[in-house]
């Protein structure tokens, strides 16, 4: 039995919805067991993540970061590389951005500062991905292992750098100084006051642009073609003249740069300073997003928004329902990934039967 037997609307809309529903059903059961009304809880969740403009704004804010980390993992995956290191690359990207800001934010206007921050973030993120990429290409060191190791190493290194060099004297907070106002990304509420006082900023549009560029380049460019050929059949790619090792290195550089760019939204869009562990797992969420979104730009976008919504909605819900801790939504994230990402064809047999039955 294959999904070829099914119309497109069924595979791309009905099945995912059924899966999402199943995940939410299990989640509802857990909420019920925790002693709360699942229906009401879901209403609150949806309301505060999607319906309420301010909530939506937060959802999209989180999604903007996730799009970048999701893209980072996706592009590496296209080349058959499983980059688990987006977390460390984003963390390091934050350092690049911060270095740029600390040196420039007093002297440059915003329209130069923002690109400078982005360049810094991309550069450092790329740098952190370069070594695993190089080792994979030239020494055959397993990228999964090296990137896991590089996450740990990044954590140590950043801990050291922040504490030793970035904390302003006399401060308690394990964070750099706050950047000047010129270094803040323009928030969207300036144009859409309904969004309220939220950090949603132009990096949302940058994320969309990144998605479009990714989509176009991966599926319509010669480079993307070589990228995918490398991912699917290295021998054939070699036959086609792809320089496999530079392809691996370049892909990891881009992947790292994208992960690094994830820091731009988190830092220049919201906190305006670099703090210890500011990534808060966004790099790992990127893995889930890439897998769930099938490395497709639309899929990545939807998954990123879904995860953003869970963070925002879950947070609000836990405020209203103290019996439901925020961690419940980590569990629900896991469920959604399981149902939508790993068991995507759970209902395919039943659905095929249903469709065929109707026709007959």
């Amino acid at each position: 039995m294959t999904t070829n037997d099914m119309p497109r609307w069924a595979t791309s809309i009905v099945l995912p919805l059924l899966n999402l529903l199943s995940a939410l059903l299990v989640a509802a059961l857990v909420i019920y067991l925790l002693g709360e009304d699942p229906v009401e809880s879901m209403q609150i969740l949806i309301n505060s993540a999607i319906v309420n403009p301010e909530g939506l704004s937060y959802t999209l804010f989180y999604a903007s970061t996730f799009v970048f980390t999701g893209l980072a993992v996706s592009i590496a995956m296209q080349a058959g590389l499983f980059n688990i290191g987006a977390e460390g690359q984003m963390y390091f990207g934050g350092l690049g951005l911060t270095v740029a800001m600390l040196t420039l934010d007093a002297s440059l206007p915003w329209y130069l500062l923002i690109p400078a921050g982005m360049v810094g973030a991309a550069l450092f993120g790329a740098l952190w991905a370069f070594i695993p990429g190089y080792l994979q290409a030239k020494r055959g060191s397993h990228i999964v292992v090296t990137t896991i190791m590089f996450n740990f190493i990044a954590a140590s290194l950043m801990n050291f750098i922040i504490v030793k060099y970035l904390i302003p004297p006399g401060e308690q907070n394990t964070a750099s100084r706050v950047f000047s106002d010129a270094a803040a990304l323009p928030p969207l509420n300036a144009w859409f006051p309904a969004l309220g006082d939220t950090p949603l900023n132009i990096s949302f549009f940058l994320a969309i642009v990144a998605l479009v560029i990714y989509g176009v380049f991966v599926s319509r460019s010669s480079w993307g073609y070589k990228l995918r050929a490398t991912g699917m059949n290295k021998h054939a790619a070699h036959y086609a003249g792809v320089k496999i090792s530079s392809m691996i290195i370049v892909t990891m550089l881009i992947s790292g740069a994208l992960a690094g760019l994830g820091a731009v939204n988190s830092i220049m869009g919201s906190t305006h300073y670099l703090s210890l562990n500011f990534t808060a797992g966004a790099g790992f969420v990127g893995i889930a997003i890439a897998l769930m979104g099938r490395q497709h730009p639309v899929g990545i976008f939807l998954s990123a928004v879904l995860f953003g919504a869970l963070i925002q909605g879950g947070f609000d819900l836990s405020l209203e329902k103290p019996n439901i801790p925020v961690e419940t939504f980590i569990f629900i994230q896991g469920l959604i990934i399981l149902f939508c990402g790993a068991m995507e064809y759970l209902y395919a047999p039943a659905l095929i039967k249903l469709i065929k039955g109707k026709k007959a």
């Binding site: 140590s156 964070a175 006082d197 950090p199 906190t271 210890l276 947070f315």
Partner: protein
């Protein structure tokens, strides 16, 4: 009407076996005594802290207690936007006419337990186990070392940190392993400042029959017999007092650093460790305590930029 009170924990959460938990205990005490309720929220990231503070401020809270230095910038920012809402920031300093920043002189309390440790130790090798290598933890370590060295010049401090990510506060196995390794190197008193990871340390001490020192709240009751003492940091009192002040209308903004004198930090002596604290130790510690309160002994706070003198 009863004041509207709120408490915002940082990423550690209200059961972090550290300052968040202590804050929760203070607030609970207040609630029990006055029957006035409070709202609790946990902010898992700096962005969320700002979101939460703003949300609470909009609800026209009378006082919002922000726990942990991670909320410093968020408090400063939101306090400016809502001049009519009062804020208390624990462990950090934020500017604002409506903010009361309360910090603690952890170095002073640590000094005392350092004294006790140096007295109780036979090997004169003292252990320190911190969560992450950050200024706050270094302050504890340095105060501890100062107290120990002042008591016994030859005292040697072995120091380990659990890790570098948030997991470092939740790794009791590593906390225990570090303690064991320190014991094997001759350490016989260990001071654990590592949140949940510290639980592993205290337990290992119990197992190995060595002495341990707890932190933040009085942890003496956990393993009576091997808990030498605890360095208590009265975040609970700070929260309790702030709530009470708001209720009584005596709340004031400002910057307060609470040391021994102000009752912000102390060592813990109770039935659980009475047997371990010999009269000599007690005398020595109380003497040091008095000297600090009187200003005769100055304990260096490394956060002020000074290097640790020992």
């Amino acid at each position: 009407a009863a004041p509207k009170l709120a408490i915002v924990y940082d990423a550690g959460g209200k059961f972090d076996k550290s300052f968040n938990q202590s804050a929760f205990e203070g607030a609970s005490r207040f609630k029990k005594e006055t029957n006035i309720n409070f709202i609790e929220v946990q902010a898992s990231s700096d962005t969320q802290a700002e979101q939460v503070l703003r949300g609470l401020a909009r609800k026209k809270m009378d006082l919002i207690a922000s726990i942990g230095f991670a909320q410093t910038q968020a408090v400063q920012k939101v306090a400016k936007e809502f001049p009519n809402v009062r804020f208390v920031l624990i462990d950090g300093v934020a500017q604002g006419a409506n903010v009361n920043s309360i910090t603690f002189k952890e170095e002073e309390g640590s000094y005392l337990v350092g004294v006790a440790a140096a007295m109780a130790s036979k090997s004169k090798k003292l252990g320190f186990i911190g969560g992450i290598d950050i200024p706050l933890i270094r302050t504890f370590a340095c105060g501890y070392a100062q107290g120990a060295k002042a008591t016994d010049k030859k005292a040697e401090i072995v120091q380990n940190m659990v890790g570098t990510t948030a997991a470092a506060w939740n790794d009791p196995a590593k906390g225990g392993e570090l303690a064991r390794s320190q014991f094997e190197r001759g350490v016989d008193v260990v001071f654990a400042v590592a949140g949940g990871s510290g639980m592993g340390t205290l337990q290992m001490a119990k197992e190995k029959g060595k002495l341990a020192i707890g932190v933040d709240s009085n942890q003496n009751h956990l393993y009576p017999g091997t808990m030498l003492t605890s360095m208590v940091k009265r975040v609970d009192n700070a929260v309790y007092d702030s709530f009470t002040q708001v209720k009584n209308g005596t709340w004031k903004a400002g910057i307060t650093a609470k040391g021994l004198k102000e009752g912000g930090v102390d060592w813990a002596l109770d039935a659980n460790n009475r047997k371990l604290i010999t009269p000599e130790i007690e005398k020595k510690v109380l003497g040091a305590r008095k000297d600090i309160i009187d200003g005769k002994t100055k304990v260096i706070d490394i956060r002020s930029g000074a290097a640790c003198p020992v």
